[in-house]
Amino acid sequence: MLQSITKNIYWEPDLVNNLKKLEWITSSIGRGIRHGKHPSQTLGFRAEFKQFSQFKEGEDARYLDWKIYARTKKKFVKQYHSESATSTLFLIDTSLSMDFKSKNSLPSKFEFSLAIIAVLAKIFDSQKDKIGFSHFISEDSTHLVPPQQNSLAYKNLLTEINQMYCSNTKTCNELIIQSLKSLSPRTNILIFSDFMEDLDHLKKALSKLSGITKEISLIQILDPIESSIETPNSSVIIQSIEDKAQFIFDPKKDSKSYLDQFHSHQKKLLKVCNQTGSHFHSMQSNDPLNNGILYLLSNCKKK
């Protein structure tokens, strides 16, 4: 099923084998009862070292750091982060603009998003994280599958995203606003979109979202043409597949303006992310999937 999702996407065969080794670690502190890969809100004595604290009477003597005691004759206790399972919600932009591919050999932005989601879902599933997703199924209704973790959750997700298609003109900020109601705190939010929309509105939506959870990642998927606007030398009519608007584009005159505009938009988007405490990742649909995944995970670890 994963392969059907990731058709047209270049990915190296060892990706699946390595999936087990890959992990997504959220920066926020999980509250899950179940053990997972994410730092728990509570400190514990397993997993990663967090700090030393002075031994108090009544504490379990097993956790005394005898080495320090031997050196300093002072009693310290080693404290570790407690690892817990977390929830992840994929917000998927299903607007028509996502269904675009500039070349037939390339995946559309939507296909590329789904491939990444599928891979990440596998990772989360292996981490025993809850996974859910939300997207617009029409102009006025969303479909939200709340995060859940069971043996069928991952399969269900794959089945669902296999049936997803782009059909609306909704923006990402509208999807965020729609999904706010059903969000539980500290849910890991991964938003897949091209974010070609009004960033002020997006900022407002993200601000609201950040009130609920701090773990927000914006994963921007672009088609190569959007970042380079490569057109023939003569004037062309550019038609937006989203709203069918037509523009006569003169490459000599308008290319530079477009690129300036594009970079300015990207900068502003990054700024919005910073202001709202969100993580921003930008990828292009012609990137190899491995690289994309690795890029995401490496960025994730940097945090």
Partner: protein
């Protein structure tokens, strides 16, 4: 509803849209189209190209409509017979002036009215000095014969314009019928006024001959030169009366509108009266004779009746230079002296039939000097006019020659002309070459002998006009209309004979010639002419003679304006192209729409408004474009 264009040829300019259209299509096809995910950034670029392609087409459409509108504005379209919900308005204007006051006119008026009344809602007006609306049709019929006023053309024009305006404003078809005899100089003023509406009015011409005068015929009304006294012209009138007139009446002649030349005589019934008076020779050029019958006041119908001299020759005598051949310059000079025909001689022969009903032109081959002349002659001939070449050939032309005459080439015509000459040589046994440009043989004896031999009456240039075989005219001339003209172009003229008008020969020539015409018209040969003029030889005077049988008109007491004679009326109608109905039975159907087309809606103005609006839109778009840049 019918759409007409005043300047239809302007419509060709609409084709200018086609290249614009093709240009637009090629330009549109030239631009490639590529897809793009969304328009968010493109919109931010302010390319202003949003739907530019469609906008361009709209812009093209706007310009095309603008162009077409401009073209249509100049072509002045008009919608005819705009269907109005209102019933059409029929306005009958009846002449109530004195000239209408006679039983015949009354009967005619009633007959015309009967045929023209469309509905109960028809409006009736009597006009003389004032225009009075008559509500009661019975009263109108009863009072029609009380006509006594004087025609006031300004008043009528003003009234017609008011009707026209009302028709245009109300969109009601308005049909105007004017019943009149159209006599009098004031009608000339009426017709010569430049009101554009006159062509839309239906004119009913009412002949107002008195029933008594219908039987009164001027059988022989001619004038003759007094040979003994060249300064006198004898007018001879033979009045034939088929029904006895109730009373005696007065006859007087009026020549050229000059009062001092009037003579009044009393003429009893069945009496033949000869009137004689003097005309200075130079006035012969402008001789227009009228015979007036002045009846007593209690005479039924008009108490004055007027005849123009039936065979009154309207003579134009033109001095020609002493050249043997007529050249173009000479023709110009010749024709410049004919004020009322204004011919360019051969050039205008083709128009003669229309302008003055010339039915006969006497020519001979010597005049065919160039192709222009030939074409003119051919055109003249093809219009059904008669050409006389000489006494033999005019009768004996075979079908081939006739064809040449109809549409032969110049060379063929020349050959034909040469043949004529050859034939003539044959006739004259080649010992007397008859060339008008070789006057050596121009001797009275020759003519005398020729005439006696061939029993032909000869023209001054030795071209025989007629020949007679078995006492029948060689050329029978069909005159369809009573009024016609005969041109006799001539070459020869002796400059020293400046008094040729007065010469015995010339006077006799004219007289004989006119009689000849009369005989042609009556298709009978007058032996007297032959004998009387067998001695007329050696003329040396050229001339163009015109003969007119004018239309008989009557004159009312109050409207006896002598300048408003029949000929003038004829000229007005010709000039104004007004069709005057002379038939009593008026058709109810007027195919030529001689009435107001109230619905005739000129679309010129709406198109002008459209052009203005489109120009404004174009200007605004352009301004916006410049601002955006």
């Amino acid at each position: 509803m019918e759409l007409l264009f005043t300047n239809a040829h302007f419509l060709w300019y609409i084709l200018a849209v086609v290249p614009l259209f093709l240009l637009g299509v090629s330009k549109k096809n030239k631009i490639k189209k590529i897809d793009f995910p969304n328009s968010f950034l493109l919109k931010k670029l302010r390319l202003n190209h949003e739907n530019q392609s469609n906008k361009n087409w709209l812009r093209f459409l706007l310009r095309a409509v603008l162009l077409v509108s401009i073209v249509l504005f100049f072509s002045q379209p008009k919608i005819l017979q705009w269907k109005s919900k209102e019933k059409p308005r029929h306005i009958h204007l009846l002449d109530h002036t004195a000239s209408m006051h006679n039983p015949k006119t009354l009967d005619l008026t009633k007959a015309h009215l009967k045929n023209s009344i469309q509905s109960d809602s028809d409006e009736f007006y009597l006009f003389d000095q004032e225009i009075v609306k008559i509500e009661n049709f019975e009263w109108l019929l009863a009072n029609l014969d009380k006509a006594s006023g004087i025609f006031n053309p300004e008043r009528l024009i003003h009234f017609l314009e008011r009707i026209h305006k009302s028709a245009v404003d109300s969109f009601i078809d308005t049909h105007v019928y004017i019943y009149s005899d159209y006599l009098g100089k004031r009608w000339h003023d009426f017709f010569s006024s430049k009101s554009p509406h006159f062509s839309k009015i239906h004119f009913h011409f009412l002949s107002s001959q008195s029933p008594y005068l219908e039987n009164l015929k001027i059988q022989d009304f001619n004038y003759q030169r007094n040979i003994l006294d060249p300064k006198k012209v004898k007018i001879v009138a033979t009045i034939k009366n088929e029904t006895p007139l109730p009373q005696q009446f007065l006859v007087y002649c009026h020549i050229q509108g000059q009062e001092h030349q009037n003579q009044e005589i009393l003429l009893n019934a069945y009496e033949i009266e000869t009137i004689e008076f003097t005309i200075p020779p130079h006035e012969l050029d402008f001789l227009i004779g009228h015979l007036f019958l002045d009846f007593p006041d209690d005479f039924p119908g008009d108490n004055k009746h007027h005849f123009s001299i039936p065979s009154a020759p309207k003579i134009r005598i033109v001095k020609t230079p002493p050249t043997l051949k007529i050249n173009d310059l000479y023709l110009d000079q010749l024709l410049n002296k004919i004020p009322w025909v204004q011919l360019d001689y051969f050039e205008d022969l083709k128009n003669l039939k229309i302008q003055s009903n010339v039915q006969l032109c006497v020519l001979h081959q010597g005049l065919i000097e160039n192709e222009i002349q030939m074409h003119s002659i051919q055109s003249f001939y093809n219009q059904g006019n008669h050409l006389i070449f000489n006494q033999n050939l005019s009768k004996n032309l075979n079908s081939k020659e006739l064809k040449i005459l109809e549409n032969g080439s110049f060379n063929e015509m020349k050959t034909l002309s040469t043949n004529f000459r050859a034939n003539r040589f044959t006739e004259t046994k080649k010992d007397h070459p008859i060339f008008m440009n070789i006057p050596d043989w121009f001797t009275p004896d020759y003519y005398k002998s020729r005439f006696l031999k061939w029993r032909s009456w000869k023209q001054i240039d030795a071209t025989p006009l007629l020949s007679f075989k078995n006492k029948e005219p060689a050329l029978s001339l069909q005159t369809n209309k009573q009024d016609g003209s005969i041109l006799i172009p001539s070459f020869e003229w002796n400059e020293s004979s400046t008094d040729w008008i007065l010469s015995k020969s010339f006077k006799n020539l004219i007289h004989a010639y006119l009689l000849w015409i009369e005989n042609l018209q009556s298709k009978s040969y007058n032996q007297e002419i032959q004998t009387a003029h067998s001695k007329e030889i050696g003329f040396s005077s050229p001339g163009i003679y015109n003969q007119i049988n004018p239309i008989a008109v009557n004159f009312a007491k109050e409207e006896s304006d002598l300048s408003a004679n029949a000929y003038e009326r004829f000229q007005w109608t010709q000039a104004n192209k007004i069709e005057i109905e002379e038939e009593v039975h008026v058709s109810r159907h007027f195919p030529n729409s001689d009435f107001y087309q109230a619905g005739s809606f000129n679309l010129g103005k709406p198109f002008l408004i459209l052009v203005s609006i489109l120009l404004l839109v174009e200007f605004l778009l352009k301004t916006k474009e410049i601002k955006n840049k």
